[in-house]
Each structure stands twice: as structure tokens, then as C-alpha cells.
Symmetry: C2
Subunit: 502 residues, 2 copies
């Protein structure tokens, strides 16, 4: 049975190659995709072939590529491999694209994920030429059934001059009805409150609107999403989860958190997944999540009933978990809502709901400034993503990491972070496998003592203490003691010698 | 005529000394005050004398002092001079307190001003023992007529166990009715949208509620607010204003700003005042302001009709302007609204209204990260104040500074900021007297070129270009080229030699 119930759009069915041929050098292309979910699988590959052919013929062809967040290898990998991307926003985690970016060969604009749609509407990113959007189906009225991620699809469909649709019959038709697409945003001075007051509240409609006259091509696909499997939590991740759950218990005991906590936001990755695994046996019931992505650990929590419901903008499930969800979607569908990332990450909503923000980091300094993007201050790993949206607006903002990396050569706790994504005011709790530092209400010098003693690896603690003491003695000012001549020496040493150890 | 119409509170009138005697060592005291406006003038001085006497008798006495933002010399200056403050939050600009803080003798917790009230309610700052609040009068029903600043007064009155009121008959009785105190905030999961959708909208009541049974003392005063006079704009400030106004004209021309712009937010200080002065003759009409403080330049704009209305949390007027406002308050009273700082700076509201945020800075780096608090990375100047509330949520976030300081020894544009308050994502425009860099939608390397060429002083441009070229060649990664071994060398050189020049 066709997934394309609208006759006009069904008449537009064509090949990926033909669809790609509408895209020309210099265009800005807004694609669907958030993590390895819901990105177009055929047109980008055809586009990469087209770009390769153009380059072989000595012609220039590079595109500005906008998405929700990261995508799969068929999009970022394929286009980066052929040098087809001149500028990329707002997030990347593809290894080939990452290499090009860090070689200085591709511009990368790393944005707060909540702000991408408003920036596009405000006209600050330039004109969007074409949208390429994966959907699960097209209804008779031409409205679109969203796929496994929503991301910026609403905005790309609205703002682009032309639209290419990929209708992926691999996606479960039962996705229909799980989305909540809000059409109440506006530009100032006409903005009104986002009416959302609870994670499970619907404020929009289940489908995406799309002017059929803008649709220049419809491509049918049958291809799986691609998300990476998670590693089983190791001892370090389990220790971090343990500290954090103990902290939540303590806060509930003090009456500063309700027994069902507050809506959870959890970054993507193994540590986040370990924390979610830890909640499986923790004494909290009727949890909710208001977060970017639904990953394996949350599915487990939904399955065992600990998690009452989850609001997100994308699935980010390992292949095994995705299969499990697909096989049993009816059981989960009333307890999962997918929203536009503008809403899933909206500062207004995050603050109102009082999310508990749990995000990973590359490093924190002794004062609790956090670097979550740039290795050694210059080499971008992925991007800031939604961490800033959540951290600044959270009820409690938590950052976590193992205390060391690269087999102990790198300390995640440093005298001075080499790049700042989250200022100390936005970092209330730092957790490593060594322990947890609760920095709320503390001045910088007191924060430093806690971070060093509770979070740093014992191997690096004496070096950190020695730096802090020298800074206390010799700093230009003593509000935030710092020695510019040696603040970044650990990073320089790593670059020169391969280790931060002295 | 008495300003205290409530019989029970009138019966509580006492001396500042007696009122101060209720305050004991170790207490947390929440005082009114935001800039040199509306802070208590008598009790803190009596408290300082009491502390001095205790210390002379060999007894410890130090307090935690919470306010709206900065205050006057009778509060911060008096208490800091006698070493009466153990910890201060959320903002300070008093020179004596600043010295103690930077000598490591006083803890200072520098907070986003919008977040102070929620943090207090959430219990993350500890118990508030006593509130000391200046008001312009007490109505018969016991409700309080706020003074020239609102700040955190609502929260201190609600949260403190005991309350001391100062009723200042120097304040103009016509202040009554100019305030809008919103009582709709709550803790999650019970938070609802802040219903404000326009700068001139009232969402609250004109008075502060106060349980008369908590009031342990009422002190009558007759003492002026103390705000510093502004310097007349110099050539550098006028040049910055000119660049900015040209930018606004350009944006209006492109259709990205309405002809009446969007609500203005302006930091305090001479540069901000110069920008406001520049708007006096700029081709924009029916302006509005949604900002922290109303300073001289805004009063001028209100007077000549360019500014339709202003919403703020405090007056921050020079003595001459304050006199002018007082003499003519009836003319202005319907066009000025004073709100709690939780609302004047609320991220939800700032984002909805689409404020044009204009804030000063100490330094920016070539990528547009901004330091607005720490000289040479360690010595705090004032604090982050509301700049983070506005910058991250603004429609356009602008930071401005002369390109050099200390007679040319310091460059405001540096290879790497020594402290980060505003990450590059939150900094869209950088302006110095040299020019303006519009960084919207640009990747780091492109941002660097613009900041160096448009904003840096010509004396420092060759050094910046040379650093950027070395970083481009030798950086660990090239997304944000950086050399940890020399990124902070300019600051170290200044500390060692008194100049950043090589």
C-alpha cells in the first residue's frame, strides 16, 4: 500500500537522482535528521554522486547543509567525503565531516539547537533554497506524517523555496499520531507564551503542514535509521550514576525535589545511558522526561514503568532497541511525544518545567566552567547541541565525565578549561566516578576546593592543588585565582608530549 | 504627614540602631537595592557600627548579604569597611567591597540576576533570616509602596523569617502606582507562563505584599539615592553609538527589524548612555525599552518622545537626572514601569519580546567570546549582572567597548579571553570605536577575520593577525584555531610589564 495518499504528491514520485538534480552549487539545503534518525537516505547519496561528477568535470559544487542535529553516514558522511559541504550547521558528529572541519576545509557553525529555527525565521542565516525531508507518509490532505525525528523539519518546510520529500516505508506506520507539531511561534513583536506546562501536554498537531505546490520531487525509500549501539556501562559510568542518584535521594530528602523528581533531560552517550540504567532500580517512581532524544535507557525505563512518559524531538535508539520499539510500538505510543527541537529545547519551557539537566563534558575547570565541544581548545568533537539550552535553564544543571581520558593521559578536571561552553553560573553540579561536587551558592574559591577534592582523579589532585595554591598566592585578583602564564599549560603539554602529566 | 498608614506597622517605628540589633553574626540578610537606588540607608550604617563594636569586643560578626544588584556606599561600602560581610550575592560595584573580594577576604557569588529569586525559592542559597527593605510608604492595608528599585524585594519579603522596613520620605510619593509586582511565580512542577507579551503590559499589582507579623522594626529615613553622574560621551563612545545606529538602520532596511526596532535593553555605563544619546537623533520612532535600569539617556528619550515607554527594575539616574525626574514625575509616570528583577530579566520574557541587548564588556576574543567581569581573568570588576539573561535570549545580542583601555596598554580584542561570561553563540555583534563585526551565522575562522579587521585597534591588529596565522598553521584542530601555549600571553605580559604590547 502506498504511503502517499495525496494524489498530487503521488504524481511527483521520482528517482533520488532526479530529485537531487534540482540542487545546485551554492544552495542552502535544509535536511531532516536528528541523531541517526529521520534523515533522508537516498537524495543525499544521489547528491554526493552528482557533486562528484561536477567536480570531475572541473565545476564547483558545494552546499550549505542545515539539519536538526547530527545525521547518518548517508548524509553527512557521503556529502563530506566528496567535499560537497561548504558550511554546516547546527551540529555534526560524523567522523568524515569532523576531519574536514578540523582540517579547516569546511565551515561549521555550532549553534544552540533551540535557536536554529528562530535564527532561520529572523533571516540571520540567509535564504533556505531547498528542504529535503524524510517522512513516514503523506496523508490525503497533503499533510506529512513525521518520521523518527522532528528536529527543524517544520521550519525547513515553511522557509524553503522548494521541497523534496523522502517517504520511507521502513518507518513504522504506527508513528502516526506520536508527534506534536506546534504552529504558534512567531517573530517579535508578535510572540506569545508557549502554552506548554507539562511534559505530556499536546499543544500542536500530529502532522507537518506542507504547501504541495512547493514540492518538486517525492522519493520513495525503504532504508533503516542508523544509530550506534551503546556500550554496556563500565565501572566508571556506574559510579557516576551512583553518585548522581545518591544526590537526587539527598535532594528529595531535603524537600528540594519532589519524590518523582522533575522532568529529566539527558544528553546522548554511554554515561547518560548508565545514569538512566541506574534509575531502573532507584527509589523514584512516575518519572517524566523532557529531553532532546529518547535513547535506550529511557526505553527501558518506559518499559518497566519507572518513566511515566517522555517528550523528545528524536529517537536515538541502538539497532536492538529500535527493533524492540518497532515491534512493540503500540505499548509505547501513548507515552512518547516527539516535538520540534525549537520546543523540545525551548528555554522558556525548560525553565518552566524545571528540568534536571544531565549532560556530558570534555573537561571542567576547578571553578566549574565546562568545555563540552573543543578538545585542547581548538579541535571540535561534536557541538554544543542542546546542552546550553538545558544547562542555563535547568532546575539543577549537572555535568558529568570520567575523571580521566586517553588511558589517564588527560584529566577532565583542569586548572582552566581550554574552551568555554557553559559558564560557572550554569554549572551547579559536577560529577566524575571519583565523586560529586555540589557547587550551588558557592563562590569560586570554595568551588575550586570541592571540584579538586571530590571530582579530580587522585593522580591529578596534587597538581591541581599546587596550581590553585600558586594562583591563590600570585593571582592578579583573588575572586577567581588564575595564572595566565600557566593556566593552559596542561593542554600545551598534552599537545607536545601526549600527556597532561607533568 | 506620615508615610506609614498601617497602624500596626506605625506602632513598630524605632531607631536604626534598635532595628539593627535584631541582626546577629552569621545571618543571611536580604536587602533592597539595585544600582544606587532604593537601598536601605540607615539600618546598614547602624549595623556596621554594631559590627565594629562586636569586633572591638573580640566577638565575631559577619553576615551574608543578598541584594538586588549593586547598592550605595551606605550599604556595601559601610559593611565591607568593617569586614562585616562573609559572603555577598548577586552583584557588587562598591570599590571597598571589590578590594576585599579581590584580596580573597570576602566570598562573592556572582549570579545571573534573573536567577536569584528562583534560586532563593528553590532553597539552593540557604535560609534567609532577615529582609531589610526600603519602601516609599506603607498603605493602610499594610501593603508596601515600592521605592526607586524593586530588585528582589518581593522575594526577600516572602522568604525572610523577619522583616525590617525603612520608609524613606525623600522618595517621591508619586512613585505609587508606577510598579508592577507579579505574584504568579511558583516552583516546578507548578510554574505557568509569565503572561507578559509587551513591555507596557501590567501583569501584577502596584504594591508589595508583606505579612505585618513578620515586621520587627520600621525605621523612618529621609535620605537621597546615590547614583554616579555619567561622563559626557567622548569621541570613542560617540563612534560606537554611530556604528550601532548605522547597523540598526541597515537591519530595518533589510526588513529584519521593524522601524520602531524592538524593545531596547541597555547595560549601565557611559557607552550605553552614549548609544541612547545617539538614538535622540536617529530615525527611529515609538521605541520601547525592556531593560534592567532606566538611566539618563533613556529619560532624555522619554522626554523627547522617541521612547514611548520603558520597563525596568530600577532607576539609575545621575543626581541631576533624578532631580529632573522627581520634579516632573507626573509627566513620566504613565510611561515607566518598575518590575521585579526576576521579571525585568526573565529569559522567557526577554526571548518573547525579542530584546535588542546592548551590553558593555571588558574584552572579546577574536572568535567573539566575551569577558564582562574579570580583569586579567581573575580580578572581578563588578559582575555578570543581567548581561547573560539578555545576551542569550536577545533578538540580537551586541557587546561594545572601546578597543583599548589604560591609555592603550590593554587591547579589548585579544587572542583568547581570560574569562568567559558570554560564549560565542551568545555574541552576535561586537562593536568598538573602530567598527562593527556582524558575526551572525559565521563559523569561527570567519568570525576571527571580521573581529580583527573591524574591531581591533590598528596598533594591535598586526599582533592579532600574526597570532591567528600561527594558530591556523599550528593548532591542534582548526575549527577554532588556538595555541594554548600563547593564548593568554597578552594577559601575562600585562601583569608582568603593565602593557599588552609586545
Amino acid at each position: 500500500m502506498s504511503r502517499i495518499a495525496h494524489p498530487g504528491l503521488a504524481a511527483n514520485i521520482t528517482t533520488a537522482e532526479h530529485a537531487a538534480s534540482f540542487i545546485a552549487d551554492g544552495m542552502a539545503v535544509g535536511m531532516s535528521g536528528f541523531t541517526g534518525s529521520g534523515y533522508p537516505k537516498a537524495v543525499p547519496i544521489a547528491l554526493a554522486a552528482q557533486i562528484e561528477a561536477e567536480h570531475a568535470a572541473g565545476k564547483p559544487m558545494r552546499l550549505k547543509v542545515w539539519t536538526g542535529a547530527s545525521t547518518g553516514p548517508e548524509l553527512d558522511g557521503a556529502l563530506a567525503r566528496v567535499d560537497g559541504i561548504s558550511a554546516r550547521l547546527p551540529y555534526n558528529s560524523d567522523p568524515i565531516a569532523r576531519e574536514k572541519i578540523n582540517a579547516g576545509e569546511m565551515d561549521y557553525v555550532d549553534l544552540h539547537l533551540s535557536q536554529v529555527a528562530p535564527l532561520a525565521w529572523e533571516g540571520f542565516l540567509g535564504q533556505l533554497d531547498v528542504a529535503v525531508i524524510e517522512v513516514a507518509g503523506v496523508r490525503e490532505d497533503g499533510s506529512l506524517i513525521p518520521s523518527t525525528s522532528v528536529g527543524n523539519n517544520k521550519t525547513w518546510l515553511d522557509c524553503a523555496k522548494r521541497v523534496i520529500l523522502e517517504v520511507n516505508s521502513w518507518q513504522n506506520p504506527a508513528l502516526e499520531g506520536m508527534h506534536d507539531i506546534y504552529y504558534g511561534t512567531a517573530l517579535p513583536p508578535n510572540r506569545v507564551p508557549i502554552p506548554l506546562t507539562a511534559p505530556d501536554q499536546r499543544i500542536g498537531q500530529p502532522t507537518l503542514r506542507c504547501d504541495p505546490h512547493k514540492v518538486i520531487a517525492v522519493v520513495e525509500t525503504n532504508a533503516p535509521d542508523r544509530n550506534l549501539p551503546f556500550a554496556a556501562p563500565d565501572a566508571s559510568a556506574r559510579a557516576i550514576a551512583g553518585h548522581l542518584i545518591e544526590f537526587f535521594r539527598h535532594e528529595v530528602g531535603k524537600g528540594r525535589l519532589p519524590p518523582s523528581l522533575l522532568p529529566l533531560q539527558s544528553g546522548v552517550g554511554n554515561i547518560a545511558n548508565a545514569v538512566l540504567a541506574g534509575l531502573m532500580t532507584a527509589p523514584f517512581e512516575n518519572l517524566t522526561a523532557y529531553t532532546e532524544v529518547l535513547q535506550d535507557g529511557m526505553l527501558d525505563l518506559l518499559a518497566n514503568g519507572k518513566l511515566r512518559m517522555a517528550s523528545c524531538t528524536a529517537f536515538s535508539l541502538s539497532p536492538v532497541a529500535a527493533e524492540r520499539l518497532n515491534a512493540d510500538l503500540d505499548r509505547f505510543r501513548d507515552r512518547i511525544l516527539l516535538r520540534s527541537q525549537e520546543i523540545s529545547n525551548h528555554p522558556e519551557v525548560v525553565r518552566r518545567l524545571g528540568c534536571l539537566a544531565m549532560n556530558g563534558m570534555i573537561e571542567a575547570d576547578i571553578y566549574g566552567n565546562v568545555n563540552s565541544t573543543h578538545v585542547m581548545g581548538s579541535r571540535i568533537q561534536n557541538g554544543i547541541g542542546g546542552s546550553g539550552d538545558f544547562a542555563r535553564n535547568a532546575y539543577i544543571s549537572i555535568f558529568m565525565s570520567p575523571s580521566t581520558a586517553k588511558g589517564g593521559a588527560i584529566s577532565a578536571i583542569v586548572p582552566h578549561v581550554s574552551h568555554v561552553d557553559h559558564i560557572a553560573q550554569d554549572v551547579q553540579v559536577v560529577v566524575t566516578e571519583q565523586g560529586l561536587a555540589d557547587l550551588r551558592g558557592l563562590a569560586p574559591r570554595k568551588r575550586a576546593e570541592l571540584v579538586i577534592e571530590n571530582c579530580a582523579h587522585p593522580d591529578f589532585r596534587p597538581m591541581l592543588r599546587a596550581y590553585f595554591e600558586r594562583a591563590l598566592a600570585g593571582s592578579y585578583g583573588k575572586q577567581t585565582p588564575m595564572l595566565p602564564g600557566e593556566a593552559l599549560a596542561w593542554h600545551q603539554r598534552f599537545i607536545e608530549t601526549g600527556t597532561m602529566r607533568g
